[in-house]
Subunit: 228 residues, 2 copies
């Protein structure tokens, strides 16, 4: 099966680059979050609101992954973060070599927290290490309450789940408890935040956690599936 | 670049199988639609509502693609269509050989319209021919009004765009005209339906078009990017 062998080789090369990235960033005291979701779940808006709230408190950098356009990077830059755009021109996920190239464009001395906003895709990004310290999957109340069961790998490899668009709950058929139950059945260590980027509900708790995370107050072993 | 060469070989093999499928289905007078979207845009609900409305009028078959679970196939079967589930177990798109295998499980004599519900993913499925006569991309008003520009390939290869969740327009920042403008800039031949599976708005027009499509009243060359 040449296809499988080659895919595994590519993943192994990717893991080597990801390890280099993790060492580089750890050496500079930078914590890194790989943020993933379906298209339109609200990753960019979450980053905008987060950067606005943490400005002056944390140096934040963002690597913005999109198939096409620089629209998201422009939004993030306007919110006040160091931003680099990666356009994959058709590719469905980010890979570690893209992150390595993007890092050379960021003034690392100015940041302590780095977000990598992955391509909007609940499948492929789950397979690719980017050298991140933790992975956040964002779901939203408008995309149906069956996503963890239907896309389990994404929830298995993530350490945090954000449920966004709480403000739209009254207008949709979405069983929030079912989603949490499904996600925790796949990954009992998942930390869950419920919020609305539109109303601001829940953002305080999320930002407090980010500050603790950036400060190294959250032991990383709690993200590897072991008990903290 | 061995990676690219192999990917092209796989796509060429896929195209050969897709052509076989198209000939098989054309020979039996079955019209086939490959339906694609982000996770949670409402593909399955659209199919449920469509099958309920067209029951007794058209014989409908559905090949249901999911990474995991048979939940969607159960919903479609309950709505009253011949249904086959494909679980890709991690793969991010359907391929023609999966469709060929699924077709052997469908009583083709009983159907004149076949839907293939692809994996929820706005990137990868766009690259894979499944032997379909036409491709429908579903977007929804809750996933942001920048999707055509950010995922152009999907809109370039589709012939129809359905904008779903019209009922949620009052509660979201979504510029419907902008979405249509973006989509038509990529693909001027795109046929657009605006609807709400929840309220039923727009479903009549969509179903009328499907009946004409299944009856062969819509010339297929209008789907190849040429003028009809």
């Amino acid at each position: 099966m040449p296809k499988v062998t080659i895919a595994q080789n590519i993943l192994a090369v990717n893991d080597t680059v990801a390890e280099e990235i993790q060492q580089l960033l750890a050496g500079r005291g930078i914590r890194t979050i790989n943020i993933m979701s379906s298209p339109g779940a609200g990753k960019t808006t979450l980053l905008e609101r987060t950067i606005e709230r943490l400005r002056g408190q944390l140096g934040i950098g963002v690597i913005e992954g999109d198939v096409e356009t620089t629209a998201d990077a422009e939004r993030i830059e306007a919110a006040g973060a160091e931003t680099v755009q990666i356009n994959t021109r058709g590719a469905c996920h980010l890979e570690a070599h893209m992150i390595r190239a993007a890092l050379s464009e960021i003034d690392l001395a100015r940041i302590s927290l780095l977000f990598i906003e992955n391509i909007g895709n609940l499948v492929c990004p789950a397979a690719w290490n980017l050298g991140e310290d933790t992975r956040v999957v964002v779901v939203s109340t408008t995309e149906g309450d069956d996503k963890p069961a239907k896309y389990p790998q994404m929830f298995a490899v993530s350490q945090v789940m954000v449920v966004n668009k709480l403000d739209l709950l009254p207008y949709v058929d979405y069983n929030l408890e079912k989603v949490k139950r499904q996600a925790l059945a796949i990954n009992p260590h998942l930390r869950i935040f419920e919020l609305s980027c539109r109303t601001g509900e829940g953002l305080d708790r999320w930002c407090e956690w980010l500050v603790e995370f950036a400060d190294g107050m959250i032991p990383l072993r709690s993200f590897s599936g072991e008990e903290a």
